[in-house]
Symmetry: none
Subunit: 122 residues, 4 copies
Amino acid sequence: MNIAISNTSEKPIYQQIFEQISAQILKGELEGGYSLPPIRQAAVELQVSVITVKKAWEELERSGLIYTVTGKGCFIAELSPEDKIQKRNETILKQMEIDTAYYRSFGLTLDEVIELLKDVYE
Amino acid sequence: MNIAISNTSEKPIYQQIFEQISAQILKGELEGGYSLPPIRQAAVELQVSVITVKKAWEELERSGLIYTVTGKGCFIAELSPEDKIQKRNETILKQMEIDTAYYRSFGLTLDEVIELLKDVYE
Amino acid sequence: MNIAISNTSEKPIYQQIFEQISAQILKGELEGGYSLPPIRQAAVELQVSVITVKKAWEELERSGLIYTVTGKGCFIAELSPEDKIQKRNETILKQMEIDTAYYRSFGLTLDEVIELLKDVYE
Amino acid sequence: MNIAISNTSEKPIYQQIFEQISAQILKGELEGGYSLPPIRQAAVELQVSVITVKKAWEELERSGLIYTVTGKGCFIAELSPEDKIQKRNETILKQMEIDTAYYRSFGLTLDEVIELLKDVYE
DNA sequence: GTGGTCTAGACCACG
DNA sequence: GTGGTCTAGACCACC
């Protein structure tokens, strides 16, 4: 559970948790078959409400990244490396479309965006 | 007043208005010195409440993109092309830092991001 | 008519005019007996509405700094130097009470205020 | 919530609230980490609309004096004594420049201002 | 006519 | 229960 939570962020906490675990699974940091910690334990670790954790877990299940075995816990879905990459790209592309729409609204060309991106990416 | 409002978007309406006018000013579509429509008229055109328009206008003023003359109206600030580009880049870089942090959390390298970006930008 | 007007200031224009003429009379820059310019001419010079000038003139008359001779114009009241100083101090003290109340609300002592004041006064 | 509101003042209510809370924080009367009352409760206490309170709270947040945690409440920022003094002086100096410009427009010297100030400060 | 302020009341997401 | 947003409608000062 290597997760950073910002209370003052505009992003809901449950979504911060969802995004970070989601990224960790698709990066391969969390391997298929292994279990996530019980929600109550996660809630204590992350210093948030049980409800908040539950909401994040539900999002993960809805995205097909984990599955629940009633009475046993939540387990990370077993995805092939190809599946992971595909899911990762789907997720990112969805966000990227929103991002580029924003950049374009300011009249930026692709080249200008790439130029700025290089600076930001360090 | 060429503005598209989505009521279903998660983004507050006032911010949608702010972002679009902001982009239009920085793109040079709205020239310095000219006046924005009166808030009440804009409210009718955009089919939103007067207060929602006002909130957007206030953000624009706070960003130095317009100035208000009480009893006369709101006018677009006279910015040099350099100022516009600088302000534009500031605005975009702020957003881009958030975007890239997201991409990186999935383990994407700069080159991968640029590759995806090219596809999305069409 | 040596008057600087700011459209963007929060202060009403008529009050800006009033304050500046008021100060000039009490400083002795405008001498008793001399006439102010006709409101229409003043309006043109100052680039403001006739109504605005009229409102400033009315305030001046109410303060006893000018008097109107119907059909002839507005004249600066003849005040002895002592009267001027007294009026000036009255005017300033009224404002100063408001100002000091503000400073004190932050817990500043008299000495601290004087210290800051010296810096600001250059 | 020790706040005095004047309905007859020319100053907007939300600004009166802002200024007084601002002063209390910078004086150290309200300590970092503690929470302000919920806006709805404050509205009842102060006998004003919820929106008026909210506007004051927004100004406080913009000034870096409080931070908002959606769904939890608004908390007073943790500022070091040095930060407080610096912010206090910034705030006061901004106002003092306006005040002194007014005094000077009447031809008062620094010494005369200080003399009057001593009287007013009691 | 313009913007500036304030009100009362409503619905929503979040925790 | 908390803040975040939005609405409709009102009154005021200023120009």
